[in-house]
Assembly symmetry: C2
Homo-oligomer: 353 residues x 2
Amino acid sequence: MQRSVPQTFDRVLSSMCTDPHPAARAAAERFLATNPGDPATYRDVAELEADAVATLGEMTGLADPHGYVTSGGTEANVQAVRAARNRRRGDVSDPNVVAPESAHFSFNKAADVLDVELRLVPTDDDHRADVGAVRAAVDDDTVLVVGVAGTTEFGRVDPIPELAAVAHDAGAFLHVDAAWGGFLLPFTDRAWSFAHAPVDSLTVDPHKCGQACIPAGGLLFRDRSGLDSLAVETPYLESTSQATLTGTRSGAGVASAAAAMDELWPDGYRREYERAADLASWFAGELRSRGFDVVDPELPLVAADVSDSLFAALRDREWRVSRTDAGHLRVVCMPHVTREALSSFLADVDAVR
Amino acid sequence: MQRSVPQTFDRVLSSMCTDPHPAARAAAERFLATNPGDPATYRDVAELEADAVATLGEMTGLADPHGYVTSGGTEANVQAVRAARNRRRGDVSDPNVVAPESAHFSFNKAADVLDVELRLVPTDDDHRADVGAVRAAVDDDTVLVVGVAGTTEFGRVDPIPELAAVAHDAGAFLHVDAAWGGFLLPFTDRAWSFAHAPVDSLTVDPHKCGQACIPAGGLLFRDRSGLDSLAVETPYLESTSQATLTGTRSGAGVASAAAAMDELWPDGYRREYERAADLASWFAGELRSRGFDVVDPELPLVAADVSDSLFAALRDREWRVSRTDAGHLRVVCMPHVTREALSSFLADVDAVR
């Protein structure tokens, strides 16, 4: 079957996924026909998953992590909500989850799937969770409060320790969605992880800034009871229960996550964080100097107010870019996003205006 | 990172996954860094997914299929239950699903995730759904009845047209789990698909007998309203809603499914069905001639009563085999299972007894 060569990444500026690292790609190809959902049969890849989880724990400040490599951030977030719901099942008959409106739409999906109420609260003027608004929305039926460490639209880090306090005061769990931010934040001074606050669960995706192949997300629990609350009995696999949302799973994704982290944690990821942060800072400056209203980047994600016509013209020139709900252009400085590409983008911006 | 070479498939006799077809593997490698969850950015793989869904429709008797390539059979089954629950949300406050006890444990998982009651009913003496028992378990709150076309333990095909009638009499939907059977049954005279009964939704997995790479399951709905009931709004992707359970998805899996079916449907799959059916028939005969109690294979899955000690001894000799709940050895005649391997297995059976 002949198809055109798949597009390159050069002009993909708003994605939180990237070109996988060569070591990740090689591992994916070697383990393409394995299934970590059947660990007794596929023992090598089961070991790689344990390695990957251990490293994710190390990155996120958890010495004894309980978790697994998910199909992605959506599964991790859905499962975090499910674990909170399941662990409070005896006490709470009408569970709700409180999250800032900047939370990823996977929480909307989780609410529908799991039959829980999602209470989205407004963010503050700097696009971060407003702790007071979260506190006001929490009640006795709240099973989970969500904080985001690297929001999808603006790359913001929520005040995680304060949100943890609000959650625990109400008897709820605290989940941090660090799907994108988790491979950047270890190199900053932000308070975002298991090390900085009594966080109960955390999402961190190797197939985003981790440079692993899709599908490779990550879900970690501080306590084993989190993972146990997801377990379903498996009568005919060689193991006795299964906590994952999917059944058969991709060994390629798991192996690529282990390989990428083996290769890149911590120095490679640190170098990439520094490159991306510099690039974002430069790019934000270039946009500001052209008169655009730019949201000052906290992490390497630059959002700027652009007109509908400029946005449409840039898309016509084959830039794969998307916008925030409020209409900002979003440029995510992933490993494949180069200064050359952004210079070319700026040249097109200049040509179009 | 050096690891031992991943195990080969030779001794894996109880898995419903297999070594992917070379065309599938090549396609997976080409599309490894694409995400069909963002179809406006990754347009080539979005087209491949449409091709794959069209072919799955052709195989299962549905001219105008509404569906997608899932992460696997578990997602397909969970989503089928979710669609039934969501479509009956206005009328039914305490939904239940009725399935034969032979249904895959993904329905147990679906029940927990989706907060619905699962009513498992006993099968008949030949391990098929007992229509009378299903009818007795169905009530006004039943949103879905499940029939299996190729059960996990015994490879049985349930009486699908009768189950569809029971479901529709009660105002419930009928879902067929043909995850494994769907690539075999087109070459038989069984009544199992959209062509044979008013089936509402169906699971059929390219990464099982379709010889695609993991992750590639399939979910099809007869009516668009099924898929629509799963849709969640997506404010910042270039598309407006997303019906899938996961978010970011594996382009490798989707591309491999399209490539495998392009290469093998229908003649390659037909030849493989015939080979597997002959092999299963021969193997069942060999076990019978040795005095084992063998469940007569309906599809290429041979189940035989073996003692605990024989089973343990075979596992000690590195045969990756599993058992049914009642203790039968299960041998699934997948494309990688050869007569040579089964002869070698029989030699070990003889050596151990």
